[in-house]
């Protein structure tokens, strides 16, 4: 069952300084939305609000499943995932980090092991399974962060600058991973990046955040709906 | 997290296993450090326990604290050596059935060169007067113990108030520590003979004055008044008191020797 995320008139200000003003948008397609904008434009803020980590000052965020509006509770929260630019690494093994989202969902141990193996394989960290997560390189850390978010097979996945501080090789690994996910066609992915090349390589739909406003870039994605 | 819990429960279990000291028929006796430190109680209590099956738990404090424990109802029986205070507390209704049990005596010790020349005096009051005259250092327990009480009584008779004098040190510690401080300061100290006999080998001091009846140190035993504190084990306390003043108890006290073989306490129950 696919989930649609709808933003209506989102407004957010920090200390009187507006960051988002009347943002409206509907993420109703499977695939990858790439959100761009200058530093401080409010991209991370928007993702945090969409991922239900923060409340907007005004406006509404709603999630729909086949036109039914979903109640905003932990079950909904558990179908979405956000990877922050700074991966919060738990001081445990790589496998334990990746197993975490499954453990808090009280999934049986055998299933946990199976899915952890599978997802580590996907991000290419199988051989680092038992390594302490804090000792990973930043590229590996980023991949582990992805694996940890993907292991629950989220309906909506937010990625905030997933390749910000890593080398070309790891960037390539992550981009290929994104392409694989897209081919599987399961999730809606909304990511930010400062790399125009990356946006073109992986993105299906391009969005800009400027002066607190969210707008589509029609050069790339004609099908995107615009509200307001 | 699970591992933390199991660790915790193992520890708890261990603690439960360790805590198996069931309380048999027992009474709590508040006494002075001298009776415990000399080893007297270690000698007589097992005999009493075997005779009667009553266990005596001993808390050793200064006389002041021991009497206070009794007044507050925190002990069943009190065994101290400050007869005047004891009689006063009995008169005030805190204690009943007080009996003399035994005595030892106090001596004045000091460095062998005896700066105040008290050697040869027969009166403790005169000795104290001389110490005050020469302003030689005198170390006092200063802890409301029986020894301290005795010392203050002697000062009272000299009509000298030593408090606050710069040669008069109130240390607020037990007998052994007071002696050791006196040793370091080459000072005079009033001590009970028992403690002195036990510690003299470690001190460069000697007895400079003894034998004055004023220095007589009477130990007495009394029960906490059950009318004041209904929870006290009066019956068992009385068993203990009666045993202490009986021939068996008195013989046991007489037979006690410290680790150097000295006889410290002379039984004198009537």
């Amino acid at each position: 069952m696919s989930i649609v995320l709808k933003l209506e008139n989102l407004t957010k200000a920090y200390g009187g300084k507006p960051v988002l003003t009347h943002c409206s948008f509907s993420f109703d397609k499977k695939g990858i939305y790439v959100l761009r904008g200058s530093n401080g434009a409010g991209k991370s803020t928007l993702l945090r609000i969409c991922a239900l980590l923060e409340m907007p000052d005004k406006g509404k965020i709603s999630f729909y499943s086949a036109n039914d509006r979903l109640a905003r509770n932990i079950d909904l929260q558990r179908q979405i995932s956000l990877v922050l630019p700074k991966v919060g690494v738990f001081n445990r093994s790589v496998a334990a980090n990746v197993a975490y989202p499954l453990k808090i969902r009280h999934i049986a141990q055998r299933e946990v092991s199976r899915r952890v193996e599978q997802i580590l394989e996907l991000v290419g960290l199988s051989h680092k399974k038992n390594q302490q997560a804090l000792t990973l390189s930043s590229g590996e850390t980023q991949r582990m962060g992805m694996a940890r978010a993907l292991v629950i097979e989220p309906e909506i996945l937010f990625l905030d600058e997933p390749t910000a501080s890593i080398d070309d090789e790891n960037t390539l690994i992550i981009e290929n991973l994104l392409k694989t996910l897209k081919q599987n066609g399961r999730a809606t992915i909304i990511m930010t990046t400062h790399d125009p090349g990356q946006a073109n390589r992986v993105g299906d739909y391009l969005l800009w955040l400027k002066n607190g406003q969210l707008m589509t870039d029609f050069r790339k994605c004609e099908e995107v709906n615009m509200y307001g | 997290m699970k591992r933390v819990y199991s660790f915790g429960s193992i520890v708890c279990l261990l603690i439960l296993l360790l805590s198996g000291n069931a309380f048999a028929d027992s009474i709590l006796c508040a006494s002075t450090t001298s009776t415990e430190n000399s080893g007297l109680f270690g000698h007589i209590l097992p005999i009493f326990e075997k005779d009667t099956g009553i266990e005596v738990k001993l808390v050793a404090r200064g006389t002041g604290a021991a009497l206070e424990m009794g007044r507050r109802g925190d002990a069943d029986v009190v065994f101290v050596h400050a007869k005047e205070q004891e009689l006063e507390a009995v008169a005030d209704g805190f204690f009943v059935d007080r009996h003399d049990v035994m005595y030892n005596d106090f001596v004045i010790i000091g460095s062998p060169d005896d700066p105040a020349s008290i050697k040869g005096l027969t009166s403790a009051v005169d000795a104290f007067k001389k110490i005050a005259d020469y302003q030689t250092v005198f170390v006092s327990r200063g802890d409301q113990s029986g020894t301290h009480t005795k010392e203050l009584a002697i000062w009272k008779r000299t009509a000298i108030d030593p408090a606050g004098q710069k040669w008069y040190l109130e240390v607020g510690q037990g007998m052994e520590k007071t002696q050791r401080i006196g040793n370091e300061k080459r000072a005079y100290v009033l001590t009970d003979r028992g403690t002195w006999l036990a510690t003299k080998d470690q001190l460069e001091m000697e007895i400079l004055m003894e034998g004055d009846p004023v220095l007589f140190n009477q130990y007495g035993i009394m029960a906490v008044n059950p009318e004041k504190h209904s929870h006290v084990k009066y019956e068992q306390a009385m068993t203990f008191i009666k045993w202490m003043i009986s021939d068996t108890g008195q013989t046991a006290i007489d037979g006690f020797r410290d680790k150097l073989g000295n006889s410290l306490f002379i039984p004198n129950a009537k």
Partner: protein, 233 residues
């Protein structure tokens, strides 16, 4: 300095002989300080977590109080507990004075501020991204809090070690509320104080060495536990 060697020698002899009395005293020390420490942790850790992870009124005052109480003189605590538990005190009816329960209570009061203050600082020093990460991965608020606490485990074990050190070395409070009754409330430190009082310095020092050995052993166990809990970069 010969006396130190002598004391080590006597300590060794005591350990080799390990008579029932000494063993009882050692076990009672462990029992009293261990129970106090565990109960202080059971009470103090959630308190520290509440202080660190929630906003509550008087939080600053409470933390300041805990930090100040870390330096409470044990005799003062002992005296206070004594007056509470004394037959003439408000809790006298429980008849707890001069029992190991009284000693555990006093040591609990001594350990609690240490556990609360040190665990609090361990928990607040966990990087805030940990909590964020937990929430983004679908943790409920309480699951996220537990994750933060788990990340603070290194500091929490350090707090427990600090508390244990203070308790094992403590004599002022347990002497007053326990009474140093042979076979009942006599523990290592009160035995040491008693022997020192009697002038048996060598024996006292030997017992001190044994106490130190016990503390070393326990701390090593805790440190092994701690080492498994952390990762070195």
């Amino acid at each position: 300095m010969a006396f130190i060697l002598e004391s080590f020698h006597s300590a060794l002899i005591l350990i080799v002989r390990l008579d029932a009395e000494l063993l009882n005293i050692m076990l009672l020390s462990l029992k009293v300080s261990g129970s106090a420490l565990i109960s202080a942790t059971i009470v103090g850790l959630p308190m520290a977590a509440l202080l660190a992870l929630t906003s509550m009124p008087l939080k600053g005052f409470f933390l300041n109080l805990m930090n100040t109480c870390m330096g409470l003189p044990p005799v003062v605590v002992g005296l206070f507990i004594y007056l509470m538990l004394s037959r003439s005190g408000p809790l006298g009816f429980m008849g707890l004075l001069y029992t190991s329960t009284a000693m555990i209570t006093a040591q609990f009061v001594l350990a609690l501020p240490i556990i609360v203050a040190l665990c609090h600082s361990a928990i607040v020093s966990v990087d805030p991204v940990i909590r964020q990460a937990a929430l983004t991965l679908g943790a409920t608020r309480s699951q996220a809090s537990l994750t933060v606490i788990a990340e603070a485990r290194y500091g929490i074990i350090s707090a427990i070690i600090a508390g244990f050190g203070r308790l094992m070395a403590e004599v002022g409070a347990i002497l007053i509320v326990g009474g140093n009754i042979a076979g009942y409330t006599r523990v290592m430190t009160t035995t040491i104080a008693l022997e020192a009082d009697k002038g048996n310095f060598e024996l006292a020092l030997a017992l001190g060495i044994i106490l130190l050995g016990m503390a070393l052993l326990i701390n090593s166990l805790l440190l092994i536990f701690q080492r498994r809990a952390i990762v070195r970069k």
